[in-house]
């Protein structure tokens, strides 16, 4: 292992540039460790985003050597090419500054896709028992562990080509709620995901599945939404 890593970090806004830093190489070093080293020891003005450092919060995703990754769980030894690292803010989002991408559009689309639970009961009703073995619950559980990191969104060709496209994480979230028997908002949700630039715009390239750090398969969720909304449309329950 070389003693020093050659690290290029994106600095500035969308009109910024890469700046090179030399960072000591260490064992079991993550990309987030490298970025943190630069801010603590080389340039305190470096901006980036992180919180939990253990792969739960979804804050620290960045482009690492051209590929979107969760930096806190990405070991340098796995991704450095010849001792070199290039780190940039997530793609398909505006740059705020340096390595911090603006995720307002990402979460705005979350709302557009009706990614919010719509309760069908009140706190005065008894708690509804949910059988984890039903096909619906299994479909929801298979997609539920999303940490909102934006890696799939940054890796999606359709997001890149169609700025209105809802996005894989957002549609994946909608699919979990479509399969939640306690949810009362599915009529509006199916309408929302079936409009132009909704689930039917997905090309099934499966980059979201390939790049998702927690191993989810948003493409499968989107295919589920396509089937469900198509059936509703053919039955006349859905007017586009």
């Amino acid at each position: 292992m070389a003693d020093t890593l050659q690290v290029s970090l994106w600095r500035g806004g969308s009109d910024g540039r890469y700046v090179d830093y030399a960072v000591p190489a260490r064992e079991s070093q993550t990309v987030l460790d490298v970025v943190t080293y630069v801010q603590r020891h080389l340039d305190a003005t470096l901006s980036y985003r992180f919180a939990c450092r253990v792969g739960m919060c979804g804050s620290c995703a960045m482009q690492v050597n051209g590929r979107a990754r969760w930096t806190c769980r990405t070991h340098v030894s796995k991704v450095a090419e010849g001792g070199k690292l290039t780190v940039a803010p997530l793609e398909n989002m505006p740059v705020i500054k340096d390595l911090a991408a603006d995720m307002r559009e990402f979460f705005g689309k979350w709302q557009r896709a009706k990614g919010r639970f719509a309760p069908s009961k009140t706190r005065n009703d008894p708690v509804e028992p949910i059988d984890p073995a039903t096909p619906q619950r299994r479909a929801a559980d298979a997609a539920i562990e999303c940490i909102n990191c934006g890696v799939c969104y940054a890796s999606c060709d359709t997001v890149k080509w169609d700025k209105d496209y809802l996005g894989p994480a957002q549609l994946n979230r909608a699919w979990t709620l479509v399969n939640d028997v306690r949810d009362a908002g599915n009529r509006e949700r199916l309408v929302a995901v079936s409009e132009g630039s909704g689930c039917h715009s997905c090309h099934s390239h499966q980059s979201c599945q390939e790049f998702c750090p927690v191993g989810l398969n948003p493409t499968r969720s989107i295919a589920g939404l396509k089937r469900k909304s198509l059936a509703a449309y053919l039955k006349g329950e859905l007017k586009p």
Partner: protein
């Protein structure tokens, strides 16, 4: 693409799959048998079956291709949606007119 366009594009694709196969078989047969233009026309003129076959084919192609071109224009050009919708409809109509003219030319007696 919304759910209605998706339904039309998938339905026309399913319809075209067997039609394309028959179309290819017909081409291979006609070429293999060395049919002249006059011999082909003798088989197609006045044929309701060939008229229906290629009439449905042209209709399916026109709908399918127009929706596909619309998607390509949305993803690859900065044109506004209204202009793209208008162009896609026009493109579908041009395909339908050209295709149906060709069908009429070989089927009408």
């Amino acid at each position: 693409m919304n759910v209605a366009l998706y339904a039309w594009q998938r339905a026309t694709a399913a319809l075209m799959a067997p039609l394309v196969l028959v179309h290819l078989v017909v081409i291979f047969y006609a070429m293999g048998a060395g049919l002249s233009a006059a011999q082909m026309l003798a088989r197609t003129r006045g044929s309701i079956a060939w008229g229906l076959f290629y009439g449905v084919f042209v209709a399916a192609v026109s709908v399918h291709a127009a929706i596909g071109v619309r998607t390509i224009l949305i993803e690859w050009t900065p044109l506004p949606r209204r202009a793209i919708d208008g162009f896609a409809i026009l493109f579908g109509l041009v395909l339908a007119v050209l295709g149906l003219r060709a069908v009429a030319a070989v089927v009408l007696p």
